[in-house]
């Protein structure tokens, strides 16, 4: 059976392990067998430089720092991504306001519909 994320390599940039474990389970339910994760900006950028990803999900805030540098690295390589955030009403960064944002906590259905839109040709 072909699911949304079958055969895709997915990068999750999220610093909280419990939230990450749930996201991994959700992505697994969408058919993704290859979820790579990073908790820090440095590790995320190193991964993006070294490997090819089909899509990514990026927490706007990593341990107090914004993750703009990671967003730039993904955008440069044309990796489609969505943001996640634990903030309620943060303004989007200029030039990135067309990116989809998942506000935590989010449901499986919200995640899957945002990813479906992200990956639809």
């Amino acid at each position: 059976m072909n699911k949304l994320l079958s055969g895709r390599r997915f990068l999750v940039v999220e610093d909280e392990i419990l939230v990450l474990m749930m996201i991994e389970d959700m992505l697994g339910d969408l058919g993704c067998q290859s979820v790579i994760s990073a908790a820090t900006i440095e590790k995320a950028i190193a991964l993006i430089e070294a490997q090819a990803f089909d899509a990514a999900m990026l927490d706007m805030n990593l341990d107090g720092d914004d993750s703009n540098a990671v967003a730039d690295a993904l955008a440069e390589r044309g990796v489609p991504f969505i943001y996640s955030t634990g903030n309620s009403g943060r303004d989007m960064r200029e030039g990135f306001s067309n990116r989809a944002v998942l506000r935590k906590p989010f449901s499986f259905d919200e995640l899957s519909s945002k990813l479906e839109r992200l990956l639809s040709p």
């Binding site: 909280e16 392990i17 419990l18 749930m22 989010f106």
Partner: protein, 190 residues
């Protein structure tokens, strides 16, 4: 706050995926919520700045009878070093999972087993490393779990992913040994 809500969502999600009995699900969710709540209480007392390792350990083990019968079967030794809030939260969860496992299958599941927890700080080229060991003995014979459950997953991955540490769970027949190597801030942060 919203991140905390997502953490709670994850706790419910994991518990309900791993079990079908509503009572088991409720107990698993409550145990982790209470652990999270104790960590939050401790960090609130410390103004969300940092927390002492001994305090994190005492608060995490308090519901497992450390203040009554099992106190004599628990030996803790180490300096009350300061941990970041992030490390305090991650270790609070890890100790809760280790203690839950000890009550169900390990050294606290019979009447003579004991647990020894000790740690040292080692200087490294990049800073300092907390080397902590949790050793159980005289419990029932130990066998490695058949599948990786929430507890071992969160202990091994949590400390690695969130803190850049390394964790080893060694299911020795005569008692579980968990060894943690966690980078901690240097003296300037104390």
């Amino acid at each position: 706050m919203k991140n905390t809500l997502a953490t709670v969502q994850s706790i419910v999600w994991q518990a309900s995926r791993a079990n079908s009995d509503p009572k088991v699900i409720r107990e698993a969710v409550e145990s982790r919520l209470f652990a999270l709540s104790r960590s939050h209480n401790l960090l609130t007392r410390e103004n969300w700045h940092s927390a002492g390792l001994l305090d994190v350990l005492h608060d995490a083990l308090e519901p497992f009878g450390v203040s009554d019968g099992r106190a004599q079967r628990l030996a803790i030794s180490g300096e009350n070093i300061r941990l970041s809030t992030k490390a305090a939260l991650a270790l609070g969860i890890a100790f809760n999972e280790l203690a839950t496992n000890a009550m169900k299958y390990g050294a606290f599941s019979n009447d003579k087993g004991s647990i020894r927890i000790d740690w040292t700080i080692k200087p490294t080229p990049d800073g300092r490393l907390l080397v902590l060991s949790w050793r159980e003995k005289d419990g029932p014979p130990v066998a490695p779990p058949l599948r990786q459950g929430f507890g071992s997953r969160v202990i091994e991955r949590g400390l690695t992913h969130e803190l850049g540490g390394a964790v080893q769970l060694d299911y020795r027949p005569d008692g579980l040994i968990c060894t943690m190597n966690i980078p901690v801030p240097g003296a300037r942060d104390e």
